[in-house]
């Protein structure tokens, strides 16, 4: 993460100075109560699911014996991403954000919006007990990939 900050601020991560996130870096965080997702029914709330989750996300979540923590944490993840995208003064819908685990089980964010192709996002998810939490960092890169 420190590689995304100005060099002058790198030491701030471990020092007493306040981190100065440049306009090229934004963060977002969200926490959700998992129990709120237990009441959702795939058939009864079909419109809701189709608005929030991609088909691959639903396939992943409902492959689990208890899909609700996975639904909740992905919702939190999307909220976190939306918050950082808003920080860049841009807009994005829930369904334009896809959060799936890579081969190592690490969550990966795909932004399906051509207008936001210059924003790279990394995310961390966690759920424990009745809570699901997500933290996302977004970096705007220039056309040279820097």
């Amino acid at each position: 993460m420190s590689s995304n900050l100005d060099k002058k601020n790198e030491k701030s991560l471990f020092g007493s100075e306040t981190i100065d996130c440049t306009r090229d870096t934004m963060i977002g965080v969200d926490i959700e109560n998992i129990e709120r997702f237990v009441s959702f029914d795939l058939k009864k709330n079909k419109t809701f699911f189709n608005r929030v989750y991609t088909p691959k996300e639903m396939e992943y979540c409902f492959s689990k014996s208890n899909p609700y923590p996975h639904l909740a944490v992905r919702f939190a993840g999307k909220e976190a991403v939306i918050k950082l995208i808003t920080g860049f003064n841009e807009k994005i819908s829930f369904k334009e954000i896809e959060i799936l685990n890579d081969a190592n089980g690490v969550p990966d964010v795909k932004i399906n919006n051509k207008n936001l192709s210059n924003i790279k996002v990394i995310i961390s998810l966690s759920h424990c007990g009745d809570k699901a939490i997500a933290f996302a960092v977004g970096t705007r890169i220039d056309n040279n990939g820097k």
């Binding site: 709120r36 709330n45 419109t47 809701f48 608005r51 807009k91 994005i92």
Partner: protein, 82 residues
């Protein structure tokens, strides 16, 4: 249209689990306790199902208070009626 406004309020209140008397035009997102981001999407989805419409992302974001919810749904209904 009056009937449709009543339907909007019914869906809105039922989704949030609040009584009719707790909602007015000034009722705003995140000011009425149940109305957070998750409930907002439930409201949008339930309104879409009720009226068989598909609400754009910009309008979903723009629904910041109940008055705007009604105005936006009316816009879609008027468009449907054309």
């Amino acid at each position: 249209m009056e009937n449709e406004m009543e339907r909007i309020k019914k869906i809105f209140c039922e989704t949030l689990g609040v009584s009719d008397s707790e909602v007015n035009d000034d009722t705003a997102y995140n000011s009425l306790e149940p109305w957070d981001s998750l409930k907002h999407l439930e409201i949008v989805s339930n309104l879409e199902e009720e009226f068989n419409i598909n609400i754009d992302t910009d309008d979903v974001i723009d629904m910041s208070n109940f008055k705007k919810v009604k105005e936006i749904i009316k816009k879609y209904l008027d468009k449907k009626g054309q």
